[in-house]
């Protein structure tokens, strides 16, 4: 019975998709009208209220079309994972929710989320609608994904055009050596070449990943065993730490930054460069004029170290998924389909300065600017997903914390050697709980 209804839905979806979502409501089964579902949205805007003001009008639109009422709750990032764990443990959770795409494999292992097999994917419009890069971060390879991508992001280099001009620089750096060289020219008085978010654990772990990739390092081996303290990882992380420790182009105060102080330093001109994902909305909130900064791909290590990969960003983004215990699976999938429709993708990603995860949305002129092309190019060619292993969430926390401690040591004047980094990473490695 259920299967039949699902395939009917899939058929309906397949018929409707080419017509775009604008008229996608005529075929909804009547039984869904009057259903109420709960949606946990992650914090994408500048505040939880901002998110609610972006999403509520869209959810009202959804209700108008389908008759399904959605109770929206926006949850901050520091709470989201704990709330999800509590929901998974108790079986009492939302019907639909957002997850950080890097958690996909970890959360997939809990079995608390609906596997998006082919039939389910068809019910939300089919696999082919989504960007391949974004789909690569929806769970462990060889298993049905644990949701579909909702917002896409990548790391880029933001640079302050005015400060660059003052220092006689006319283009952003493309290699780390150039970044150091430019950074030194840009570091004068109260102004610093680069800013990092040194006490922010997930930022640290993302950079650790990219820098390690450029040095040929992997945090998990092919069997999924953690190897945090591999030499290439140490070399990559040392490169990142040395911006503060050796080259002194980063303000040591950044070692305690954990609440987006680096965005405010960049926006106020206290730092000339920033490595960040989708910072536009926030930078404008801090009063920075969009003409005053430029966006460039994150630099590479040149010459490429042995085994080094051409990766300058993780596949960053947010996925949307359905709680396995939901009593309203059809209605939940309807909402997933709605939020990933071309129309909604354009509206939402414009509001959050992120990138659509579906091909169809890129025809909108807002996503054909030079800046968006840079993001798109990174995502399509030089971004890699974080390790898709169940212990991924542990990797982010343990390695991110190790780097936070190392930044703290550097800021208080201690010398941090490769051996120190290796020891810290080895200790982090020893704390990983084996998956079975």
């Amino acid at each position: 019975m259920r299967l039949k209804r699902r395939s009917a839905l899939a058929l309906a979806a397949a018929l409707v998709v080419p017509l775009a979502a604008a008229c996608g409501s005529a075929e909804e089964p009547d039984s869904l009208a009057g259903t109420t579902i709960t949606y946990w949205a992650s914090n994408q805007g500048t505040s939880l209220e901002h998110d609610a003001s972006v999403l509520q009008p869209e959810l009202d639109k959804f209700k108008e079309r389908t008759g399904i009422t959605v109770n929206l709750e926006v949850i901050g990032w520091d709470n989201l994972l704990n709330r999800i764990l509590a929901a998974a443990t108790s079986g009492q959770g939302p019907d639909v929710l957002n997850i950080g795409n890097t958690w996909s494999a970890s959360l997939q292992a809990t079995g608390a989320f609906l596997p998006f097999d082919d039939a389910t994917l068809a019910a939300v419009g089919g696999k082919d609608r989504f960007l391949e890069g974004s789909l690569s971060a929806t769970g462990a390879p060889g298993q049905p994904p644990v949701g579909v991508p909702l917002y896409s992001m990548a790391y880029v280099l933001y640079y302050n055009k005015k400060l660059f001009a003052e220092a006689g620089l006319d283009a952003p750096p493309t290699t780390w050596d150039e970044l150091v060289e430019y950074g030194k020219k840009l570091t004068t008085g109260d102004q610093w070449g680069l800013v990092v978010e040194g006490a922010n654990i997930s930022e640290n772990s993302h950079h650790a990943f990219t820098f390690a990739q450029q040095h040929g390092g992997d945090f998990f081996d092919a069997q999924g065993k953690p190897q945090f303290d591999a030499d290439a990882n140490v070399a990559g992380i040392k490169r990142y730490l040395d911006f503060m420790a050796v080259h002194k182009i980063v303000n040591p105060s950044a070692a305690e930054y954990a609440n987006n102080q680096s965005l405010s330093d960049f926006a106020s001109g206290k730092a000339a460069m920033l490595l960040w994902q989708a910072a536009d909305t926030a930078l404008q909130q801090y009063g920075m004029n969009p003409d005053d900064y430029g966006v460039a791909p994150v630099p590479f290590e040149v010459p490429t170290p042995a085994g080094g990969r051409r990766v300058n960003s993780m596949v960053a983004g947010i996925n949307i998924t359905v709680f396995a215990e939901t009593k309203h699976k059809e209605a939940a999938l309807e909402l997933v389909k709605f939020l990933t429709s071309d129309e909604e993708q354009i509206i939402l990603n414009k509001a959050y300065a992120s990138l659509p995860t579906v091909h169809g949305a890129y025809r909108d002129p807002a996503f054909q600017t030079d800046t968006v092309k840079i993001f798109q190019d990174v995502l399509a060619n030089t971004a890699a997903p974080l390790p898709a292993v169940p212990e991924e969430a542990q990797f982010e926390t343990l390695v991110g914390t190790a780097i936070k401690d190392l930044f703290a040591d550097i800021a208080s004047g201690k010398t941090v050697t490769e051996a120190d980094i290796k020891a810290k990473l080895a200790a982090a490695n020893a704390q990983v709980t084996p998956s079975s």
């Binding site: 608390a112 169940p390 926390t397 800021a411 704390q431 709980t433």
Partner: protein
């Protein structure tokens, strides 16, 4: 209710030949004896539900390998016996060594914050004991930190303690020129002292409140008599105030120690979820061990050990102070 009334029936049946009047009287007496327990019952049930059942579940989890693979069906997590305890108590392994480290940090934190809170509370209490103009205003002001919500108060401290924009460094470095280099307060070795400072600021008003109540119960004649005998202020504090306050202090210090040892919100809010290693209290450490590495079995084993540790500390403390009281 049924369980509490059940024992009456056999009593009534045991003596079928008894006169109806005496039986009724006995029933009434039994009912009267049970009434207080009936009133206690709702509280007892809630106590069981809110405290003892979760504690029992925690002990159960500590014997199981409860990781992300089982959180959805946590009752099916594999039984591992004492394995979690073995890992946690292996001081040479990384997990055990970290736990030991955070235990030492917590002991330093508890001794310093309880000691200072008590000292401030006692000093202020004694100074405010005599009537003077503005005494009530001062008492109210001193109590403010205790009345503020923990989150709001501690987050304000985290702003004050920032290296570049924080007010503390502005006063110490820019205005008083006590240091050339701006020190860090939220990371590195100073972070423990920042944590103690904030904790004392939050807790000492409670000590003041209890000590003030204790001081008001000391009869003024004692001070007059000791003054006649020539005792000065310090002698009075030593010979009259402190001994008379002993019962209050006994409870106050025990409560403060237990609170400080388990303090979670102060470090969690001050350091934004991940405490720097020099200030990693045991509560934060357990939180990180269970919620961040998703190994609830290990975290529960640590919690059970913490519970046992605090239980032993409490028993030893109570035995020690009670013996001293009997000896005195």
């Amino acid at each position: 209710m049924t369980t509490t009334t059940a024992p009456i029936t056999p009593v009534a049946q045991a003596d079928p030949g008894a006169p109806v009047g005496s039986r009724r009287r006995r029933n009434r007496a039994a009912r009267r004896a049970l009434t207080p327990y009936a009133f206690l019952l709702p509280a007892l049930v809630m106590e069981l539900l809110v405290h003892l059942v979760p504690m029992a579940v925690g002990v159960w989890i500590s014997f199981h390998n409860l990781t992300q693979f089982f959180i959805r069906r946590w009752s099916q997590a594999p039984f591992v016996g004492l394995e979690n305890y073995r890992v946690v108590l292996d001081w040479s392994g990384p997990t055990g060594a970290d736990l030991l480290h955070s235990l030492f940090v917590t002991i330093i934190y508890t001794v310093c914050s309880v000691g200072l809170s008590w000292l401030f509370g006692f000093t202020a209490g004694v100074l405010l004991q005599k009537r003077f103009r503005g005494r009530n205003l001062l008492r109210t002001m001193f109590l403010t930190p205790y009345a503020l919500p923990a989150y709001a108060a501690v987050i304000t401290w985290s702003f004050l303690l920032q290296r570049d924009q924080g007010m503390l460094n502005h006063v110490l470095v820019d205005q008083l020129h006590l240091a050339d280099e701006r020190p860090f307060w939220l990371i590195g070795d100073n972070s423990l002292w920042s944590l103690i400072m904030v904790a004392v600021w939050r807790t000492w008003p409670f000590a003041l409140l209890c000590i003030t109540a204790g001081l008001q119960a000391i009869p003024p004649d004692l001070y007059e008599a000791s003054a006649m005998d020539g005792a000065g202020f310090l002698r009075q504090v030593r010979e009259v105030t402190l001994p008379m306050l002993a019962p209050v202090n006994r409870v106050l210090i025990l409560v403060l120690v237990l609170w400080s040892f388990n303090d979670f919100s102060t470090p969690f809010v001050l350091f934004g979820g991940s405490a720097p290693r020099p200030a990693e209290l045991i509560s934060i450490h357990i939180y990180e061990s269970s919620f961040i590495t998703w190994n609830f079995g290990l975290g529960s084993a640590m919690s059970v050990l913490l519970l046992l540790f605090l239980f032993i500390v409490t028993v030893v403390y109570l035995l020690a102070v009670n013996r001293r009281r009997r000896d005195a």
